[in-house]
């Protein structure tokens, strides 16, 4: 926990400085000394102060409440999380081009396989899931899910 605090602190401090710097460019409310930059200024300043406090605390090595809440060690598969994030990115990039009915089963399939569902089962559920969501959102709720290359079959 404390090791992550160090570089999280650095990132937060940088973010805070950027926010403070950007805040000075925002205009004031007419007739007032303050304006659109006030809240970002407070937020940025606050982030810098908190980031420094985090850094100081982590280098002092003092134990603090957050340590006690640390989770017990578990097996971790970050690979699966990455595939799931990738599936959503794929959806964002492809949905308008190839259409919901093609991109959704691919995303589902990737996610199922990432979670170690067997291939036949994954294929089945990818199809069932796509049809379910299509019926629920496109047919019942009338959400204009993209058709993409399937437009001619619409």
């Amino acid at each position: 926990m404390q090791r992550s605090d160090r570089w999280v602190g650095l990132v937060l401090a940088t973010l805070g400085l950027i926010v403070v710097w950007s805040a000075s460019a925002f205009p004031n409310v007419p007739g007032q000394k303050l304006g659109a930059g006030f809240l970002p200024m407070i937020v940025g300043g606050g982030l810098v102060v908190c980031a420094l406090a985090l850094l100081v605390r982590s280098f002092r090595g003092a134990a603090y409440a957050g340590d006690k809440a640390a989770q017990p060690a578990r097996r971790e598969h970050f690979g699966s999380s990455f595939i799931i994030i990738g599936a959503v990115v794929g959806y964002i990039l492809l949905a308008d081009r190839i259409g919901f009915l093609l991109v959704a089963p691919l995303c589902l399939l990737a996610a199922f396989l990432a979670l170690r569902v067997t291939l036949p089962r994954a294929l089945l559920w990818a199809l069932v899931g796509t049809v379910l969501v299509h019926v629920a959102f496109y047919k019942l709720l009338r959400v204009p899910l993209p058709w993409g290359v399937l437009r001619p079959f619409y």
Partner: protein, 498 residues
Amino acid sequence: MDAVATAFGLVFQPYVLLVILLSAMYGLFVGAIPGLTATMATALLVPVTFFMAPVPAVAAIVTATAMAIFAGDIPSALLRMPGTPASAAYADEAFLLTKKGQAELALGAGLVFSVLGGIFGVLVLIVAAPALAEVALKFSSFEYFWLVMLGFTCAIFIAGTDPLKGVVSLLLGLLIACVGLENPAGAPRYTFGNAELTGGIPLIPLMIGMFAISEVLRFASGLDKPAMAIDRPFGNVFAGMWVLIKKYKLQLLRGSALGTAVGALPGAGADIAAWMSYGISKKFSKEPEKFGTGHIEGIVESGAANNSALGGAWIPALVFGIPGDSITAIAIGVLYLKNMNPGPMLFVENPQNIYAVFIVFILAQLLMLPLGWMAIKIAKRILRIPATVLMPLILLFCVVGSFAINNSLFGVIVMLVAGVVAFFMERWGFPIAPTILGVVLGTMMEEHFFSSLIKADGNFLAFFERPIAAVLGVLTLLIWGWPLFRRLWARKTAVAAA
């Protein structure tokens, strides 16, 4: 009285009743599956409620959350895995009872005291909200500014274990709220020339990301399969409940009261209410040595507390537009979408809608007895559904739901980024609740701050001139000053001792 009759008419329609029944079943299902939280249930419901009239939309959320918080107790008793974080406080206790062959007692107490606690919370909501709204009608921007500040303060100092990280979370939320045109000067902030960003970060996709996508990612990063602790059919779960109610009436009352109060505090919800109640129950118990060995007393008190917190959380949400927990934070988003802007005027202009919400609350608690009983009966079958199949389906649902709010892929992008950020925040010990509070209340705080400042002509002391504003302001400053004061005091006594 007309409004009450209208409210009954609004609720007792086949369509609304069907929505209530379906969302009850949905809430029980989601609550019972470990890894799917009550907040996630709410976030997933929003895209669907988006297409409903205000009353059924709110009814769906109220019912689903009440059921989900109870249903979280089921896998606690059977798998030692809380179905929702709100059941985590007494999951071990319930599981040990099951091990002792008393699964019926653990599950029955979970159900009955959830209902009783829930009803307590609703009654307080019904009495307190209109009374508070009367007072709130006289509030000006000064009072609202301090209320929001007090809300932030509660979320950081009461709800979190690490105030420093809580402050960081809040600041990140406020930063997100800064994005867009909606600020006192009407200047574009952090829009980077993007047309979608000028409207600000859309709230609902953000919440779906923070509460649902982050859970999917967490699930994917650690697959553990728990073992079922019981393989015989259940007996009568209601046996012995009357004895428990009589024996533990004080605990029931204390848990419900504490739960409602914690629920009403911004940023702290059912899960914190349960933890606090469990602790208090143990502290004041006549037999504290039995806690942690499969003892029902703690389940009675904290089981009542987590359900009463739901009603409590709606008090500040309806009266001030300040969410009492993450669930009401999402619900407030829905209220705005439905043109039921929360605030005291809602009680004046649309009392029938408020009464309808109250009626739904009571209905949901009453429905919980039969439906909860059925859920327990089929629990073993529900729990056998592999989460590895559910999670990808939820993922697709989140994607399409985030898209549906504005029919824009921008919502999906917001959802994904929010989900990844929330996943890492939780990993590194940064609480999510203050961030959500910052996003929901950031614009409101800035608006009230500037209108106060203009009224006061730049004089900061004016923030303390009105009596209620002064009390709220001093209270806020005292809570912030308390850690510093305590440290100084400790140093002083240490010096005196040396």
